[in-house]
Symmetry: C2
Subunit: 247 residues, 2 copies
């Protein structure tokens, strides 16, 4: 247990480090999504940003160990450390999250479900989504399946488009997300819109560092912001339940 | 213990939440200070961002409880969670850190000492420092004392200057650090330079969100970046020691 200064306040456990920059962008998105007038109004976050978590893309390609046992162990440890909710700002890693979900139970806040809900909310009449993600996320199918449950199909992309996004995502992981990378991201996003996308889902937590809403002719939904909003909503409900339960 | 994916890699424990935005700015400064070509090269951070830590400025004014026991308990818990180093990106809170230093021992990385070293390095011949800090930091004297040990005196400031910086710092804590706040910060920094400051120390971790090096006619040293650089240097030394010790 890491002692909380205020035990009545919800603690959000974050399994981070995938990648390092995306973790802190997510933490800032939680801040931005929190209605707060002063420092003391914010949620408590306990973040394990571990960049040595086995590479999800390598594991999916059969070139490395699965991150699943590590993720489950971290989730359980965050609950023991005092987390009321547990989340993981990495969409690709959700393909390895079954064991983690089982370990944290009702405390789990799912980034893929939150993202699919946000896409539907941003484009209520859309049927075709441009999915900006790692090739592993495309291959794993967990994001297309969540979108399909909401009546949304993924616009097919060519192999060179997948390769271009992977190059950009790995650039962000290495700390490069300047104007050159952002211009490339806008160009690839425009191609997806030309191919029929009515809404874009930036479904890798690195992508919002390159492409934001307003950078394309259709809405751009950020998985990072969608997860942050879901966490704040769940934590708010949790805080209410806790306050109601107190004498 | 929160399990590490790579037990040989140093884990940095961070006592955060003071304020919330400053914590993530510090985490990003650690990323920026780390020589890394890929995600896997980064340090592991375990961050407890707890916005309910008793207010340091209220405590200093006698209007609230001391944060010292909470900070010491968190430091001890971060060591138990697996941290090899412990730091706290809040300069004001260092006035309450004696118990925390005792709790974490050799794992401690001190933001005040790192900042004073960075001021000396940025302005080797300077004798007068403009100290941008909370009124509590001015009053506590721990930062002026660290500067004095390096031959640096703090340029006196008027009461209205202290009040203006406090207003700006609390604006950042509430999430406001836009162009209006940044313009005000530049104007107050210019007044400190006019009063004789040869170097400015942004000694509150909120201030770098308002004022960076290049925003004044003298060097601006960021306590956030100074602590990040010290942590990376200590972690690098620690990683080397661990690697040497392995068979």
């Amino acid at each position: 247990m890491i002692p909380a200064a205020d035990p009545a306040r919800p603690t959000v456990g974050v399994i981070g480090g995938m990648g390092p920059a995306a973790t802190w962008a997510f933490a800032e998105a939680v801040l931005a999504a929190t209605p707060a007038a002063s420092e003391q109004d914010h949620l408590r976050l306990v973040v394990d940003a571990d960049p040595a978590i086995p590479d999800r893309n390598a594991a999916m390609a059969g070139d490395g160990p699965s991150p699943a046992p590590t993720l489950a162990a971290k989730g359980a440890a965050l609950l023991e450390a005092g987390a009321d909710l547990v989340c993981m700002p990495c969409v690709t890693a959700h393909a390895f999250a079954d064991e983690l979900r089982a370990a944290v139970g009702a405390a789990w806040v799912d980034a893929v479900e939150a993202s699919a809900d946000a896409v539907r909310a941003a484009a209520p009449d859309a049927r075709r989504v441009g999915l900006i993600a790692t090739t592993s996320t495309h291959r794993a199918g967990h994001v297309p399946a969540a979108l399909a449950r909401r009546g949304l199909a993924v616009v097919p992309a060519e192999a060179d488009e997948h390769a271009a996004w992977m190059d950009l995502i790995y650039a962000v992981k290495a700390g490069r997300h300047g104007e050159g990378e952002r211009a490339a991201a806008r160009a690839w996003a425009a191609r997806s819109v030309a191919a029929g996308a009515e809404v874009l889902l930036a479904a890798c937590t690195e992508v919002p560092l390159l492409l934001q809403d307003g950078d394309a002719d259709v809405p751009v939904v950020s998985a990072t912001e969608a997860l942050a909003a879901a966490v704040v909503a769940r934590a708010g409900a949790r805080a209410g339940a806790r306050n109601d339960a107190r004498p």
